[in-house]
């Protein structure tokens, strides 16, 4: 136990405790050490900063669209992939590619494809008489683009979990239902989905913990713009710390975000346990 405890302390507890310490201090940029204890000042500054709340709102909008989309698509694709058809093994393998592409590469790739001057997307849409669309320059479209890129990257992850869940379902229940004359919709509604609830809940929580860290795709594609339309909280904290040199306030923001994330995660976990118990 002792070595494990020490490793956990070093890699998990120390950075968090150091961040908490900085959040109550003023940081000396010459030494990168906390220089003066300032109490709750940094938290007061952060909580009265309209830009902090705006970034949280932007993050909320992104999560509100990306999470349901990725969950629905992920499970829908899993159902399709789970059906018996030739080549499904290859498709499963291909699905993993977006997950292993580096976020910066993914952001750059999508920037090229969606570029209004040279991108293939607008060219194809133009053939249908649509556009040209300014994917990164229009505030609404820019957020949609971030959701699109993130969905492209992470839906395969949900599909992977969902496929594993589907394969583990007891086949005898479905056979019995088929004998009783149940059609696919009835089986989906009354057997598959209830049995999948624990898997759906687990996939949601795992994906939530990944999505709430959104940073790299935005940095590589929109830089938080246009204006501040895609300025998610992690990018905001990064820019305030490493550009604005407000390390102490940024540490306070990180602590606030950590607390919000922990509370929401606890709620999701509790809800998932209740759903499991219900079904």
């Amino acid at each position: 136990m002792a070595p494990a405890f020490l490793i956990l302390l070093a890699v998990l507890a120390y950075p968090i405790l150091y961040t908490v310490e900085i959040s109550f201090s003023e940081l000396d940029l010459a030494t990168f050490l906390p220089s003066e204890w300032v109490g709750w000042d940094n938290y007061e500054t952060v909580l009265t900063d309209e830009r902090f709340w705006h970034s949280l709102k932007v993050t909320g909008i992104y999560l509100a669209f990306a999470m349901p989309l990725q969950m629905v698509l992920g499970f829908a694709i899993a159902f399709l992939v789970n059906a018996e058809w030739r080549g499904r093994g290859l498709i499963r393998a291909l699905f993993l590619i977006p997950m292993v592409v580096a976020p910066v590469v993914a952001g750059g790739l999508w920037r090229m494809m969606l570029d209004p001057l040279w991108g293939i997307t607008n060219y194809l849409l133009g053939l249908l008489g649509v556009g040209p669309l300014d994917w990164f320059g229009d505030a609404t479209l820019a957020m949609a683009t971030i959701v699109l890129i993130d969905t492209w990257r992470w839906t395969p992850f949900v599909t992977l979990i969902a496929t594993a869940g589907l394969l583990s379902l007891p086949q005898d229940v479905f056979e019995a239902a088929e004998i009783d004359g149940a059609n696919w919709w009835v089986m989906l509604r009354h057997i598959t989905l209830p049995l999948l609830v624990p898997i759906i809940a687990a996939a949601f929580v795992v994906r939530w913990l990944g999505a709430v860290k959104m940073f790299d795709i935005v940095l590589a594609s929109t830089l938080g713009g246009p204006g501040r339309a895609t300025n998610v909280i992690n990018l905001f904290i990064y820019q305030e710390a490493f550009r604005g040199l407000k390390f102490a306030e940024s540490a306070a923001m990180s602590v606030v975000v950590l607390i919000i994330t922990m509370v929401l995660t606890a709620i999701f976990l509790r809800a998932s346990r209740q759903l499991e118990a219900r079904y």
């Binding site: 109550f24 201090s25 940029l29 010459a30 030494t31 990168f32 050490l33 906390p34 220089s35 204890w37 830009r51 570029d115 209004p116 001057l117 040279w118 040209p132 300014d134 994917w135 990164f136 320059g137 505030a139 820019a142 940095l219 929109t222 830089l223 938080g224 713009g225 246009p226 204006g227 501040r228 339309a229 300025n231 820019q239 305030e240 490493f242 550009r243 604005g244 040199l245 407000k246």
Partner: protein, 448 residues
């Protein structure tokens, strides 16, 4: 749980730091001869950082040339992405045993690093190893001042960049407009811009636009507006470090910057360096406001441009009510105070910033000179002649109008505020007047 109060914890930290100083100092103090210049048996290894856009070129082209003269100084140059460059440099140099003997610093960063005490004073600490023919007065004042802070010279210019106006002669001719001259005013430029949105390929639709530049939410985007502001006599900060741009001139010039988007290609709101450069090189722009160092890849090198050398013109940015416009962007070489080989490090910097080094670099690696004698001499290639002339003029213009980012330890913080608010104006989220009002309020809270 610790029973230390914050104050006692700080005291403990300070004590620990004090205890560690002798050991760190022993490791860091250089020999009295500066570590020498190395021998065949005992060569010296120097490590330097530089922006990843040119680090590899320096390593493979510039350093071998340096080694012809100083074969026993082995130099490794690490390329760093721009977004991480300052932070990594700062963290490295303030550590007990920095990895870097030398650093390559962008224009606004010297004050921030110098305030930590991590840099050598080149005129004082390196005086004993300075070549007799190293002429400090030969540098133009503007590029040399980029690495000066509070009267101390911490660096020398290694890659001198200025924001300039590039133009496509074919587009001007096609639009029936006279070729731009350094006397072109902003009013004339904006009046001509609609005609430069045109069909240059005979496709029956618009396929070329008047301009693109940095428009996205990026720290360099405000530099374009700053160039217009400075050209019209405006200033970013007053002598007390308070915002001085929230004025009618500030608002009018930011409006001019926002209005450029009317004549820019689709998607320009998200353009930064790469997008505007690619569009210009592909013949889709009549003008771009861009760093001078891209000239070779834009006008000369067929591997990176579709344009012919005689198609591309370069000059200072248009004239406002006070002067022409430009913006300084100098990469300077500086030496870590903790290097064991300050003499070898200074020898490298002296060579790179010497007339020989500058001439070699401008002809072979696209780094432009900062010395009067180099810019006044006949360049190695004819295409460099107009570039040299424009650079010389831009140095004078920049010096006169103080066209650079704030010389403060919190320079990046100021630029980030401007990047945020200028981006809100270019996106149409708020008006230029509101953007400047917000920016001024936030900058004044930075306690500069």
């Amino acid at each position: 749980m610790s029973h230390l109060t914050p104050v006692t914890r700080r005291t403990a930290l300070a004590a620990a730091a004090a205890l560690s100083v002798p050991a760190a100092a022993r490791a860091a103090v250089a020999p009295t001869d500066g570590g020498g210049l190395g021998t065949a048996e005992a060569p010296i290894a120097l490590r330097m950082n530089a922006n990843d856009a040119f680090a590899k070129m320096w390593q493979t082209v510039l350093i071998p040339e340096f080694n012809k003269k100083f074969p026993h100084i082995h130099v490794t140059i690490d390329g760093l992405p721009y977004s991480e460059h300052l932070t990594k440099t700062l963290l490295d140099l303030t550590g007990a045993t920095p990895a870097y003997d030398l650093i390559c610093n962008d224009d606004p960063w010297t004050p921030q690093i110098a305030q930590t005490g991590a840099l050598l004073d080149l005129k004082k600490d390196c005086a004993a190893w300075t070549d007799a023919d190293f002429d400090w007065n030969d540098f133009y004042a503007a590029p040399l001042a980029a690495s000066e802070w509070k009267g101390v010279q911490y660096g020398v210019p290694l890659r001198s960049n200025m924001l300039l106006m590039f133009y496509n002669r074919t587009h001007y001719k096609k639009a029936g407009l006279p070729e731009p001259t350094p006397q072109l005013t902003w009013a004339e430029y904006m009046a001509q811009a609609p005609k430069l949105v045109q069909d240059v390929k005979g496709e029956g639709k618009v396929n070329a636009w008047a301009v693109s530049t940095y428009f996205a939410r990026d720290q360099l985007t405000p530099t374009i507006w700053q160039a217009i502001l400075n050209a019209n006599g405006g200033r970013l900060l007053d002598k007390d470090g308070k915002a001085a741009f929230n004025t009618p001139v500030g608002v009018a010039t930011l409006q001019t910057f926002v209005d450029l988007l009317k004549y820019a290609p689709p998607g320009a709101k998200s353009h930064v360096f790469n997008e505007e450069l690619t569009a210009f090189r592909q013949g889709q722009l009549a003008t771009m406001f861009m760093w001078g160092s891209v000239f070779r890849g834009t006008a000369i090198d067929p591997a990176s441009t579709t344009l012919k050398p005689d198609e591309v013109g370069v000059q200072v940015m248009p004239v406002g009510s006070a002067s022409a416009g430009t913006h300084r962007g100098i990469w300077s070489g500086e030496i870590s105070r903790k290097t064991k080989y300050p003499r070898a490090a200074w020898t490298l910097l002296q060579w790179m910033s010497s007339k020989d080094g500058e001439r070699f670099a401008s002809a072979n690696v696209g780094s432009f000179p900062a010395r009067r004698s180099t810019l006044a001499s006949k360049p190695e290639f004819p295409w460099l002649a107009p570039v040299f002339a424009t650079l010389a003029q831009s140095y004078e213009v920049a010096q006169k109008g103080e066209m650079w980012r704030p010389r403060l330890a919190k320079s990046d913080a100021v630029q980030q505020v401007l990047a945020d608010e200028v981006a809100r104006a270019t996106s149409g989220e708020i008006s230029p007047a509101d953007a400047l009002k917000n920016a001024a309020g936030r900058i004044d809270k930075l306690r500069l």
